[in-house]
Amino acid sequence: MSHSMRIHLKVWRQAGPNAPGRFESYTVENANEHMSFLELLDVLNEQLIKEGKEPVEFDHDCREGICGSCGVVVDGVAHGPQPRTAVCQLHMRHYKSGDTITVEPWRAKAFPAIRDLVVDRSAFDRIMAAGGYVSVSTGNAPDANAIPISKVDADLAMDYASCIGCGACVAACPNASASLFTAAKISHLAKLPQGSPERKMRVRNMVEQMRKEGFGDCSNHAECEAVCPKGISISAIALMRREYLKAATS
């Protein structure tokens, strides 16, 4: 049995990268608790289209919490109040009819605004291009189990590899630092033998690219870990620092 919910939304609207932004208030009368937060925005957009208004732009793709496309700040928390979920997996059952929800885009100089709730996260692509890859031999695909890797390292590498690059870490960081993203990528490859040929170059170049993109410095607030939809630990950041020091001193 689903109850109809009335949800008030304060949504950040911005016509373009350089246009001034402002909050607009909307009310969705026919929301229900089975909806995801993005479906609520879909319903709002249908409403806006019927009224002849511009729909709210937001990024989304899989809506299964695994692609890293979506992401908005809901009432001051990146991806909303439910831990370890992307905003597409936040469901309206966590709200009551009559609630007012404030929705803002990721805010960081390195993530320039495109429109409404959509920001340009290509800075992450450039950090990846600076070193987030491994060398592979050409030819047939090698046997997946040919290289022995300890269970502990394999598990840790998998934990770090679960980063979906959504950018919530940057959005939530009081300093708008990209340390958790960069560290997760570096740590993932540092834990695996396949990552060792470029190991030193990788940490130097990715950290340098992170700086060039204009992200802030880390202050160890650990807010990134709290909002990460994959729950990636800031132990990745500690490992990135050890990797960096090893690369710098050898």
């Binding site: 700040v73 960081a108 009081p174 410095d217 160890n220 607030h221």
Partner: protein, 227 residues
Amino acid sequence: MLSRLYGSPVLKKVTTGLTGIFLTLFVLVHMTGNLAYFADDTGEAYNAYSHFLTHELGALFYLIEIGLLAIFLLHATIGIQIWLGKRAARPEAYAVYRTAGGASRQSLSSRSMIVTGVLLAVWTVFHLVTFKYGTYYETTLADGTVVRDIARLVDEVFGNPMYAFGYPAMMLLLAVHLRHGVWSALQSLGLVRPTASASTYLVGGLLGLAIGVGFLLLPIAIYFQWA
């Protein structure tokens, strides 16, 4: 060297962490030394300790002083730079912002590092003017050595309620700074083990509290004439 330091977000954090650990060790030793005042000997042990530091360490004393000054300035400069960088990295603030809780270590302590840091830096100058460069009284130890009577100056200063209560307030700020600082320094150096994160944070906070309380005992005890 400085351009390499500022060119690397990791080296900046490592330097802040290393200098922070040195400063924490310094205040720990300073606080422990202060406790000599509580010896039941009308300031003899306190004056003797002060004399030992300033007259018996020779060149080492000046080396430590210069080193401390350099560490202090480096720590403060990078801290201010990180704060300026953070403002540049998010030109437009959130209308609504709150911590997600859980794994977050965000607290009043972590958010106010720049405020507590700057206040402590300014206060340190006043502190040096008050004591190091304050009135030079002399006294004679039991063994006949003529030394500076720093205990007398301390008594005089903390007889004044402005100092007797102002100092403890600053020391509480130091405890607040160290609550985030000790843990943060270890994390910046990559030394926090994932499994020991909570206990490291707790021990860091308790160390900060112990240092703060250890310091504020002296002015309070003198003002209320407990010691």
